[in-house]
């Protein structure tokens, strides 16, 4: 991302909050079925006031620098996982807030949203994390079906290991903004000695070929069709 120092500082905060765990013997399973040697709990950061304040500053500045100061009409937070972050960012950017359900509740234009969303509104969709991009793509499509302009997604952390994720979002098209990826975490973990070298190597194998690592450890091996 464009702002210098943000990625490594975000990685430092994530590690300091103890939000990363490693286990190859009993892998972690993401909801989409990927087996992974590492687990990250970005929600955990909301309990650390100094970390979350710095994180929200980085997030707001990143969006302003990447997109512009007057480019959004509202912040839409993803149900449960994105609400705290979305609310803090809406406050910093002085924008309205609503949150989006992962699936519609009932029917009608606003069945998937709490709060109010004007047709034509330029939305910044906010969540804690993006793994393979599928649920973000799904939510952007839903927002567009509500006649909103959903061209930007902001997450605190992006896996950036599944090549298909970028293609999926680019095809919509949607731009993904994020503060750090697994590469940043690994660089920081190696620098600080947070993980031993052998574990870092194993995670690197996962990052280089997540499908292969996942399949080897009982998870899915190919990117599921949208």
């Amino acid at each position: 991302m464009s702002l210098p120092g943000v990625a490594s500082m975000t990685a430092r905060m994530i590690l300091e909050a103890g939000a990363v765990k490693y286990s190859a013997d009993q892998p972690f399973f993401l909801s989409s079925g990927w087996a992974s040697p590492v687990y990250i709990d970005v929600q955990r950061l909301i309990s650390f006031p100094r970390i979350r304040a710095a994180l929200m500053d980085y997030a707001s500045e990143t969006v302003l620098a990447d997109v512009g100061f007057e480019q959004f009409d509202t912040v839409a937070a993803v149900e449960s996982s994105g609400i705290a972050y979305g609310a803090w960012i809406a406050e910093r950017l002085a924008l309205p807030l609503q949150y989006v359900h992962r699936r519609p509740r009932g029917f009608g234009r606003e069945a998937q949203i709490e709060g109010t969303l004007r047709p034509g509104a330029r939305v910044l969709l906010v969540d804690d994390i993006s793994t393979d991009g599928r649920s973000k793509a799904e939510l952007c499509r839903a927002l567009r079906a509500m006649e909103a302009r959903a061209d930007h997604v902001l997450v605190m952390f992006f896996y950036d290991v599944f090549p298909e994720a970028r293609a999926l979002l680019a095809a919509l098209p949607v731009r993904l903004h994020y503060l750090a990826t697994w590469r940043d975490i690994l660089a920081e973990a190696a620098r600080s000695g947070y993980l031993p070298a052998a574990e870092i190597e194993d995670v690197q194998r996962f990052i280089q070929n997540p499908g292969h690592w996942s399949l080897e450890h009982g998870g899915i091996g190919v990117f599921p069709r949208a």
Partner: protein
């Protein structure tokens, strides 16, 4: 022993052909519509046992049946008084299952014993092969019946379990197969655990991992246990589907659906935190004599199965099930009645066996992987009775408990080779 001085395989083309013939002979007598069906303690299971026993006899081995009607194959003239290594697996199958599930382990054991006799090698310990009955829970709602009976672990209540198709009790099937039902009902151990120095079971892998990792042989590191309710019921109140508003309903099916979705959410959260767990509700149904499209279902019956390598996880998740049920009962005016709870404990694989199997794979230069067993096996019964147990998995495509399981005979012979070396050529384990 290292790569410079590899172990020499003992099995040859003729052994491979004999294995193929045995598999085919058993398949022929148990062929069903699309797969094979060898019900627990049935005549088909007995017939399969006889095919194996005849092959053993013609290889000059001694055969007998133990008091639970399992097949026992032994080398004649073995020294008594020394604890033995036991090999083997089960001979029954699920309905319309695959031919190799269980049978592979019995055939492998038989090949090992026959080879040891033909070569006339000096054995460090007596060897025996077991063809166990009744491992599959599909028939009487409880697994490991043959090995449980050996250790006096079946209760009189278990002996009253009904066969899924005929409704006749297990005791009747056991009696017909020649088991000593009186001793089994009394919970009397039929073997002396001290006389068994180790249990080694070769089995096909029943998941997709070895195919994915291109390993013909697997060294098992642990066995998942399970907690089951075979016949649970959720009861609400029946009513007219058009006339009763949502807030007055006590819809049993919606309540069960909510329970399953809540369990799924918890399950997903636990998996993402690296907890080993699988959950299945394999039987769900409203009564066909009563159900109708215009009737709010007042009752739905279902099964619930929780599997994990950790007993703690099983119990913790079970508590969670009860808590979720209490919440749903309150919100929806229904009542969950779980009926009998059946626990099969997870089992630890003996570290010495696992290490020995790895050394042998290395010496034979066979590619292998370490792998936990998702499915349950008789090995768990032996392990939980303090007998050092080991398991060798054989790569198998298309999963198991279905007719499409696909084991390559070359992989099977590699696993059999490892089994043979493990019981004959390695130095004594400390027991």
């Amino acid at each position: 022993m290292g790569p410079d001085n590899p172990m020499r395989p003992v099995f040859d083309r003729a052994d491979r052909e004999q294995a193929a013939e045995l598999f085919e002979a058993v398949r022929r007598i148990s062929a069903a519509r699309v797969g094979v069906t060898r019900p627990s303690f049935s005549e088909v299971e007995t017939a399969a046992m006889n095919v194996i026993a005849e092959a053993a006899a013609s290889a000059g081995l001694a055969t007998r049946h133990d008091a639970a009607a399992n097949l026992v194959i032994e080398m004649p003239g073995q020294p008594a008084g020394k604890a033995a290594y036991w090999m083997g697996s089960h001979l029954d199958s699920v309905p319309e299952g695959g031919n190799y599930d269980g049978l592979a382990g019995v055939v492998a054991g038989l090949l090992c014993l026959a080879k040891a006799r033909r070569l006339g090698i000096a054995l460090r310990r007596p060897l025996a092969v077991l063809g166990l009955r009744g491992e599959e829970s599909a028939w009487f709602g409880k697994p490991y019946l043959g090995s449980y009976a050996l250790f006096g672990k079946l209760s009189p209540h278990d002996l009253e379990r009904r066969q899924r198709d005929t409704g006749r009790p297990l005791a009747e099937y056991m009696e017909k197969a020649g088991a000593d039902v009186r001793r089994i009902a009394a919970g009397e151990p039929l073997v002396d655990a001290q006389s068994i120095a180790g249990w080694l079971e070769l089995h096909i892998e029943q998941g997709p991992i070895m195919v994915a990792r291109e390993a013909p042989v697997g060294v098992v590191t642990g066995i998942r246990g399970n907690l089951r309710h075979l016949s649970a019921v959720c009861r609400g109140a029946a009513g007219h589907s058009g006339a009763v508003p949502r807030w007055l309903r006590k819809d049993a099916v919606f309540a069960l659906a909510e329970l399953l979705m809540r369990l799924d959410e918890n399950w997903q959260a636990l998996n993402s935190r690296g907890v080993d767990l699988v959950v299945t509700s394999g039987i769900v149904g409203t009564d066909p004599r009563q159900h109708s499209i215009s009737r709010i279902p007042g009752e739905v019956s279902f099964s619930l199965e929780i599997r994990s390598q950790s007993l703690e996880t099983l119990e913790a998740f079970y508590q969670l099930v009860l808590v979720e049920c209490a919440g749903i009962e309150k919100a929806r005016g229904v009542k969950f009645d779980f009926g009998e709870r059946v626990l099969s404990e997870p089992a630890l694989i003996d570290r010495e066996w696992a290490a020995r199997l790895r050394r042998i794979c290395g010496a034979l230069q066979y590619p292998y992987i370490d792998i936990p067993s998702g499915a349950g096996h008789d090995a768990a019964t032996f392990a939980n009775h303090g007998i050092p147990a080991g398991m060798i998995f054989i790569r198998n495509d298309n999963g198991s408990h279905n007719p499409d399981e696909k084991m390559d005979l070359d992989d099977f012979m590699m696993g059999t080779e490892v089994l043979y070396q493990a019981v004959t050529s390695e130095p004594e384990a400390p027991r």
